[in-house]
C-alpha cells in the first residue's frame, strides 16, 4: 500500500470504521473494473456516511464508483478515474412495507432475493425479474437499468418506482417523488437514476409500488421453423385480448444456451431439457389469472400459433412457467458464461422491426464467423449475444465489428442500440454507446446539476459522461 492509498483508507475509515474500509490491494482487487483496481474500498452504513464520503472525495477530486453486489459492474465504459469503490450492501433495511397499500420503501443495498421473499409472504411481488437474483441489490438493479421479462405485462422500473433518496456528487442528501402510488409534486428526479450507472448520485433508498401475485399462472410455448413465424405469432398476440406477463422469442442458439444444465451462484437451476426445444425458434408467453382465464389464453394462443404456422406447441404448467422465467431472468449471466468473450448488444426497436435486428445479428455472426444467440422481448427489446469460443485478442476486431453492425441496424430501424457487456479489451474498440444522440448535450447538463465535480463513475456512462 502506497502512502496516498494508506492516507485515503484512513480518511475513509474515520467515516465508516476500520472494519468497513480497506486500502490493501489484496482486498481491493475484487473491486477492479475493466482491469482497474481502486485505491480503496469502503462500505458505509447509511446515507449520512455516504454523504460524508462523497464530500471528502469531491474535495479531493477522487473518482467514486458505487456498487451493490457488483453483479452488473461490467456494464458501461471504463472509469476515467476510479479511486474509491463505494459498496452499498450495508444499507439493507426495509423502511416500510405496507401490503395493504401495495407500497414498499427499502434501502438500496437490500438484496432482490430478500425483498422478493418478504413480498412473497403477502403474495405480492416487484416485477423486476432481473439477473443474479440471489445476490443482486435493488439499488444496483435500478442504477444498471437491466430489464425484466415481466415488463411485457408490468412495464419497467420507471413505471413503478415511486420515489428515491440519494446522495449527489457534492455529498448532498436529497430525494424526489414519494411513497404513495400517485404523486406529481416536484420533478421526477428518481427516474433519471434508472440506468444511470451511478453517474448522478448514489441511491440510498427506493420506494416502489408492489403488485399482487395472480391467482394462478401458466405459460405457452410455440415452436417455429423460421423466425418469421415467431414474429408473426408475437404480432398476433399484441392485437388480441391475451395479455401475457412475459413474451419472448428465442433463437435456436439462445434456447441452447438457456436450456442446458446450468449452475449460478452455486445453485443448480431447475432442469428444462425435457420440454424446452432447442431446434427452431421458440416463442414463449407467461401469464396469470384465474383457471378460467388461463384456459382461455391457452386456447387463443393455440389458435394464433396455428395461424402463424407453428411446428408444435406446449402449454406450460405453473412449475414449467416458473422454470422458464428463471432461465429468461438469468439469460445474461448464462450468456456471459457461455463464452470467454461474450459480447451482448441490447437493441430496442418498434416491435414490427425486430426482424431487422434478427437478420443483422445472424448476418454479422456469419460474416465474422462468431456464433450469435438472440433473445427478443415482445416490447421490442432484442438482445443479440455474440459468443466466440475463444477470448484470443485476434477475434476482437471481428467481435467489435459484429456488435457495432447490430447497433447500427437498430439505429437504422429508428431504434436504439448499445453494448452493455463485452470483454474489457473491447470497451474502447467498439462504440459501446452507439453513434450518439442529439440530446447528449442535455444529458451533460443533467450530469452537471447532480455531479458538477464529475467524481461519480466518470466516463462510465452514455457518451463518456
Amino acid at each position: 500500500m502506497s502512502g496516498s492509498e494508506e492516507k485515503l483508507a484512513q480518511s475513509l475509515a474515520a467515516i465508516a470504521g476500520e472494519a468497513n474500509t480497506s486500502g490493501d490491494p489484496s482486498a481491493t482487487g475484487e473491486y477492479a473494473i475493466h482491469g482497474v483496481t481502486p485505491k480503496a474500498m469502503v462500505r458505509p452504513a447509511n446515507a449520512e456516511e455516504i454523504a460524508e464520503i462523497l464530500r471528502m472525495c469531491a474535495a479531493e477530486k477522487l473518482g467514486v464508483v458505487a456498487r451493490g453486489a457488483g453483479t452488473k459492474i461490467g456494464m458501461g465504459g471504463a472509469a476515467a478515474r476510479y479511486d474509491v469503490a463505494l459498496v452499498t450492501t450495508r444499507l439493507e433495511k426495509v423502511h416500510g412495507y405496507d401490503p395493504g397499500d401495495l407500497t414498499l420503501s427499502v434501502e438500496a443495498g437490500a438484496r432482490m432475493a430478500d425483498v422478493g421473499k418478504l413480498l412473497g409472504e403477502h403474495r405480492q411481488f416487484l416485477p423486476l425479474s432481473v439477473p443474479y437474483q440471489k445476490r443482486a441489490t435493488i439499488g444496483g438493479t435500478v442504477a444498471s437499468g437491466v430489464d425484466s421479462p415481466l415488463r411485457q405485462g408490468y412495464g419497467s422500473a420507471r413505471d413503478f418506482l415511486l420515489g428515491a433518496e440519494f446522495v449527489t456528487g457534492d455529498g448532498t442528501r436529497a430525494k424526489s417523488g414519494g411513497r404513495v402510488v400517485k404523486n406529481v409534486a416536484g420533478y421526477d428526479l428518481h427516474k433519471l437514476f434508472i440506468g444511470s450507472l451511478g453517474t448522478l448520485g448514489i441511491l440510498t433508498r427506493l420506494n416502489f409500488k408492489t403488485f399482487p401475485v395472480a391467482e394462478a399462472s401458466g405459460g405457452f410455448l410455440a415452436l417455429f421453423r423460421e423466425e418469421s413465424g415467431a414474429i408473426d405469432f408475437v404480432r398476433r398476440i399484441a392485437q388480441s385480448p391475451v395479455a401475457p406477463a412475459t413474451l419472448e422469442i428465442l433463437s435456436p442458439a439462445m434456447a441452447g444456451v438457456l436450456g442446458g444444465q446450468a449452475r449460478l451462484d452455486g445453485t443448480e437451476l431447475a432442469p428444462v431439457e425435457s420440454w424446452l426445444p432447442r431446434s427452431g425458434w421458440a416463442a414463449m408467453a407467461g401469464f396469470g389469472g384465474s383457471e378460467k382465464v388461463l384456459r382461455r389464453f391457452e386456447a387463443e394462443l393455440g389458435r394464433m400459433a396455428n395461424e402463424s404456422g407453428a411446428a408444435g406447441t406446449i402449454a406450460l404448467d405453473e412449475g414449467q412457467r416458473a422454470q422458464a422465467e428463471e432461465r429468461l431472468r438469468e439469460a445474461i449471466p448464462l450468456l456471459l458464461e457461455a463464452s470467454p468473450a461474450a459480447t451482448i448488444v441490447r437493441a430496442s426497436v418498434l416491435p414490427s422491426r425486430i426482424g431487422e435486428i434478427f437478420a443483422a445479428g445472424r448476418r454479422s455472426g456469419e460474416k465474422h464467423g462468431i456464433p450469435a444467440a438472440i433473445l427478443a422481448r415482445g416490447v421490442g427489446v432484442v438482445y443479440v449475444a455474440f459468443l466466440p469460443g475463444t477470448s484470443d485478442g485476434t477475434i476482437f476486431e471481428g467481435l467489435a465489428a459484429a456488435a457495432s453492425e447490430v447497433v447500427q441496424a437498430a439505429e437504422a430501424a429508428q431504434g436504439f442500440g448499445w453494448i452493455p457487456w463485452c470483454p474489457d479489451g473491447l470497451k474502447n474498440l467498439a462504440t459501446i454507446w452507439g453513434s450518439g444522440r442529439p440530446d447528449a448535450a442535455l444529458m451533460r447538463r443533467v450530469k452537471q446539476a447532480f455531479d458538477s465535480g464529475g467524481i461519480l463513475s466518470p466516463g462510465r456512462f452514455f457518451g463518456g459522461i
Binding site: G96, K175, R179, V184, D188, L189, V349, Q414, F450, F462
Partner: protein
Amino acid sequence: MIAGLERIVGREQVLTKEEELRLYEYDGSVETGRPDCVVFPGNKSEVVEIARWSNRNGVPMVGRGAGTGLSGGALAREGGVQVVFSRMNRILAVDYENQRAVVEPGVVNLELSRAVARAGLQYAPDPSSQKSCTIGGNVSENAGGPHTLRYGVTTNHILGLEVVMPDGEMYRIGGAAVDAPGYDLVGLFVGSEGTLGLVVEITAKLTRLPESVKTLLAVFETTDDATETVVALTARGITPAACEMMDGWTIRVVESWIRAGLPTDAGALLLIEVDGPREAAEEQAAAVVETCRAHKAREVRTAKDEREREALWKARKNAFGAVGRVAPDCYVQDGVIPRTRLPETLRRIGEIGKRHGFEVGNIFHAGDGNLHPMLCFDRREPGTFERAMAAASEIIALCVELGGSITGEHGVGMEKDRLMPLLFSETDLELMKRVRSAFNPSGLLNPGKLFPVSKSCGEIRAPAMGRGPSEPIEGARNERVGSDAETRGGTQR
C-alpha cells in the same frame, strides 16, 4: 417589441388588447396571472422563433394548452408572452401495429382516443377534462384521471418528445422505441409543469381497448363503509380499472343537477369499473360485488349497457361543475394518502371542515388514495375565504403527516408552491432548482412556478370577483369551451 412576434406568427395570431388578454389570465384553478400578450404558433419553427424572441428580449414565456389546468401551471404569473398551442392540434401519425401515435401538443386528449378507437385502441390517460384538455398540457402536468388506477398516469404512456428550450434550441428526447440510452429525459420532462422546455411534439403509446368492461355502482349508508370497501379491495389484490368515491353531500348536489338516478339518501357511493378479457372482467366484477356486500353495501348495481355506463360516468365527470352551482367559490384539493388510511382520513377531514364551519364534499379517485376534498364558500362573506384556506392547509398537512403528497395529479404550479416545503427539504428543492436552471438558466420560461416564491409565502390569492370555478372562460379564443354540460369550463377533475 410586439412587432417582432407578429413577424413570426402573423399579426392575427397575436393578442394584446386588454379585453382579449383577460380571457387568458385564468385556468381551472383559483389563481390568476395576466400575460402581456398571447401568441398562437402554428408550427415548431415558430415556437423556436418565439423562444428566441423571448430570450433576446428578456421577456417571460409560458406555454398553454386549453387552459383547463388546476394549479395555475399555464398562467403568466410574471406577465410576458403566453404561447397557446391550440393551433398545433394535428395528429401527425398513428402506427396501429406498434400502438404509437405522434401528435402536436394542442391535440385534445379525447380526440386521440376517438381517432384510434376504430382500430380497437385508446390513449389511456383520461383526465376528467379530457374533452377539452390537450395532450401537451397533460404531458406538462403528468395528468391522471379515473382509469389511471389500472393504466397509469401520463408519464407511463409517453415515449418521446420534441422540446424547444428557452433559448430556442430544439431537441428530440426519447423516441418511438422503448429504452432510449442515456438518462430518462422524457421521465424528467413529463410533469415538469412547463418549466424546462416547451413541448412541440409527443410520441405516445396507445393501449388496446379492453375486450370487456363492467361498471358497478355500490351504494353505502356511511362513508366509512365505502372507504373500508376500498381498503378491502386493495388488500384482496383486486385492481379495478377505476374506483371512484362520492360522499352523500356530493351525491345530493350532483343529482340535483345531473339527474343520473343517484340515491340521494345514501351516505356514499363507489363507482367501480373492471375490465380485461371477458372471463377476467366477469370474475373481478363478482369479487367486487362480494367485497362491497361484505362491507354493508346497501345495493350494488351493474350498468346493463353502454348507455347506463355513460350515465354513471357523466355523473362522476360533471360533479365539479355541479358543485360550482351551490357556491360561488369552491376550493378543490388534490392530496394523496396511503390507501389503508382512507377511513380515518375522511373522518378527520370532516372534522377539520366542521371546526372551520364547512361541510367538506368528497369526490375522488379512491382506488389510488387521491383525494379531492372540496371546500365551498362565498368569498364575499367576510372571513370565509381565510377560513377555507386555513381548513385547506390543515387537510393538506394531514395528507403529508400520513405519508402522502400535496398533489396527485393537478400539479404544484403557483397554487401549491408554498406547500412544497411540507414534502421536500431545502436541499431537495435546491437540487430541483439546479435541474431547472440546467434547462432554463435565465428562468424566463414559466417563472414563479413549482418552487416557493418568497413574496407569496403563506397566502393563497383570492379568485377574481364573481367567478366560480365552474364557469367556463367564455370566449377564450380557440379553446374548446363546448356547449354541452360535459365540456363546460375547464374545471372538471
